[in-house]
Symmetry: C2
Subunit: 226 residues, 2 copies
DNA sequence: CAGAGAATGTGATTTGTATCACAATTTTAT
DNA sequence: ATAAAATTGTGATACAAATCACATTCTCTG
């Protein structure tokens, strides 16, 4: 039997700490599933029996709020999709949906737990990632609640450019409604700000493609919140 | 030498998983410090060299936002104060301040790391707590951004009553300014809502003491966001 | 390729809450 | 005990953004 996890080019940082033998056993306890854009990967309120890991594509994590959905964050490949929801509670506390066509590995939770006890470098890396995630979520929340819409939209554009797509030019796969849910703004406000930025020569929009023309200005807007 | 950590009545859930020997060694790697109300326990931007743990009292975690401070959460005894900030980054990403006179144990980070590798029940519990913390922070953020001030103030009152003080009658040690920073509202709005609740017979206020008279109503207001 | 449905653009109106300004009260230090 | 400082209460005003109501433009799908 081949060691498919060892040959996999999309390992998480934690998985690079695993031995050949551990990766071999992981291969037997892991199932890769393809999802189409828009497909639900994890559903809030259902039982969580596997650790989900995004191998390729793009996904959004979202929670049901008192008024409307909130997109908590966008997850790019080589990251776990639902560690907190899998370990913190028996029932999933949030939903995950594919934003682009994606491949997701489902790792058996029992084996994942075993890995945590077997390999300290692995468990250490998981802890570090959880810590980083929490700090990031604090930071995101401050931005969301204190900045005004222009600042928040500037934030997402910079995040897309610097972290998600790693390019000044990218195709946004998320509609303005969801963009609004991600930064806590209405669909209409997102539309207005995006067009304002375009008119001001900060970005160029053609269809779903966005090009950042003046990153310094975006950073200014992001920093000062307007 | 006495095993002070073993005799300690304020162990974290994770610490209850430690063996007698481990607790003994912990005693040698842990220092208890007293803080007065208002004292700074951890300062954002400084190096983090210890894991902080709240033994008694009450503390608030807060971050510097673009406009003003945001109180991220209130921590009650037998909980770690800065796991994410200690493990996620070399530099503290948030500040912690004593809300009441408090005792804090500072655990040497090297020994804490050693404990994580030595005792799987311990590290597992830490992971579970980190996961719960992240989910909680998502939930808090949704509430903060989607509910209006009445709903958010109802939320804190319920949190104080159900989780922090575990009583329908308690003395709020946080002023309205900070209460505002905790729920993202202005000091004036908090004052108005608190007095509205009082006039409506939902709570009774005398000085810093608050008594919840109609918890069902508060839950209604919290749930519906107004 | 036409027609339906989804997504986006844009003005007018409404609204919740921040901000300002100051009074009143409580707490703290001398 | 008393002045000073901090905290709280409350009206008036300002303002950012949500909501509403359509128009327009994309994008599937039969």
């Amino acid at each position: 039997m081949e060691n498919k996890c060892m040959l996999c080019n999309y390992k998480s940082v934690a998985e690079t700490k695993l031995t050949e033998a551990e990766l071999g056993e992981l291969s037997c306890n892991c199932l890769t599933v393809s999802f189409k854009k828009g497909d639900s990967i994890i559903r809030q309120g259902t039982y969580s029996t596997n650790v989900a890991y995004l191998k390729s594509g793009l996904a959004k994590i979202h929670i049901e709020g008192p008024y409307h959905v909130q997109v908590v964050r966008i997850v790019k490949p080589a990251n776990y999709l639902g560690l907190p929801t899998t370990f913190g509670d028996k029932v999933n506390q949030y939903s995950v949906t594919a934003v682009e066509n994606s491949e997701v590995c489902f790792i058996d939770i029992t084996y994942f737990r075993k890995l945590l006890t077997l390999n300290h470098d692995f468990s250490n890396q998981i802890i570090v990632e959880l810590c980083k995630g929490e700090i990031e979520s604090y930071q995101k929340c401050v931005n969301r609640t204190q900045k005004q819409v222009r600042g928040k939209v500037a934030d997402v554009l910079l995040d897309f450019s610097d972290n998600i797509y790693r390019s000044d030019k990218f195709v946004v796969q998320i509609n303005q409604e969801d963009l609004g849910n991600l930064v806590d703004a209405s669909r209409e406000s997102v539309s207005r700000v995006l067009n304002d930025f375009s008119r001001e020569g900060i970005i160029r929009i053609s269809g779903k493609e966005v090009e950042i023309l003046n990153k310094e200005m975006l950073q200014m807007i992001s920093k000062h919140g307007w």
